[in-house]
Symmetry: C2
Subunit: 241 residues, 2 copies
């Protein structure tokens, strides 16, 4: 198909498709003459993935490029390929080093955040909140029997981000314990298995890795809004409309 | 306690505490002389909540102020008070009207996003993707028996954001069905009940509403990172490290 058809079939505006091509997020088509190129189903699939990562996942262009480099690396075995692509995704850490939400507020004359970000003690090994969060994550993973996650530990960005988030909550007076986290973790475990079952039905490692990235990055707003709806439902159930 | 003690006990830098006071996010202390005021445990609790909303929840200052106005409104019954505070929180919609992720990318010469945002067809009633998402959410809520959520429908920001997200995923070629969503929704339902059980142990409606806001806004990064860890664990389990 031609470039215009690619835009048409994907629902992505042509100017955006051209931008993705220039940025290398979409591989070039097969030249058929001096001014035209031919695109196929793999371009359409890639275009949809890029669009969804940027529009739904709010992932920065540079990060999308890095993730796709791993997705496209045919020299990697499936495990490393999946791992590299997923680890390159952003991990919400629940801690704003530069406190962007405050900086974006109406008053910009905030001395606090920068001062605080400069303080080395928050990341130090003797931070009692971080130590508590480390212990909590370790207990949780042990009870779950997630041995790979325990072994990888802080090498894994999700592990690091989880510890950082729990340390921040602990510091702010909202401590969680393993019993709070276990039911959520069990659900996520079931969902991950279901996800990989679906992934394995795809024919090539590249398509499988694309699927894994899409599923990891795109389902998050769905999940968060289901949680908000459930809270609203349960509150109405107990206290009336 | 004095202002300095408030900073000390909360772990929030003094300049940030003063900023919150100026912005009205923290109520003034009780004046004890021309230059000093006295703060109590309710200030400490409020300071921790504000800090957590901004730092962990990445919620803009103006939104925090709006949420707190509902939390502090003693004229409201618990149901409306909870509802108003929770509905004022940001709801990730999985659709970027101005495509901020792209605008923040290395190249800013993007004609696509603004052109696209101007297109009225994406929100139109005859958008087949939105129609599919509407049907899907309705089927899901019916199967869950969430009657309040069905009745409120698009009045609820979580409902609207969920439909928008699913419509975007559908448009981009990642359709989900009710069977995909049900297990997640069931878990969120259990968690919401557990949350309200804990909330009801608090002594006053104000503290209860504070707790509900904290729980809604702060647990999200925890949840998302548990999901990433589970994906990594399951992938290692199947394909080796």
């Amino acid at each position: 198909m031609r470039l215009a058809d690619l835009g048409e079939r994907s629902g992505v505006p042509l100017a955006t498709v051209k931008y993705y091509l220039r940025e290398g997020l979409l591989p070039p088509g097969r030249r058929i003459n001096a001014t035209q190129a031919e695109y196929d189903e793999s371009h359409l699939r890639r275009l949809r993935l890029v669009r969804a990562m940027i529009q739904v996942g709010r992932i920065p262009v540079a990060t999308v490029r890095e993730v796709l480099a791993h997705v496209d690396d045919d020299s990697l075995g499936l495990t490393v390929r999946l791992g590299a692509a997923l680890w390159a995704l952003p991990h919400p850490a629940g801690e704003a080093p530069g406190a962007p939400a405050e900086a974006a507020g109406p008053s910009r004359e905030v001395a606090g955040p920068s001062q605080e970000a400069a303080s080395p003690s928050r990341e130090a090994a003797d931070d009692p909140h971080r130590a508590a969060a480390d212990l909590l994550v370790d207990e949780l993973l042990a009870r779950l029997g997630w041995s790979a996650a325990r072994e990888l530990g802080a090498l894994s960005p999700a592990h690091r981000a989880l510890v950082t988030t729990l340390a921040t909550l602990h510091r702010l007076g909202y401590p969680l314990d393993a019993d709070d986290l276990l039911p959520y973790a069990r659900t996520m475990e079931q969902a991950a298995a279901h996800d990989l079952d679906r992934m394995e039905q795809l024919p090539t490692p590249r398509e499988q890795t694309e699927y894994a990235v899409a599923s990891a990055a795109l389902f998050e707003p769905v999940l968060l809004n289901l949680r908000r709806l459930a809270q609203c439902e349960e509150s109405n159930r107990r206290y009336g409309l």
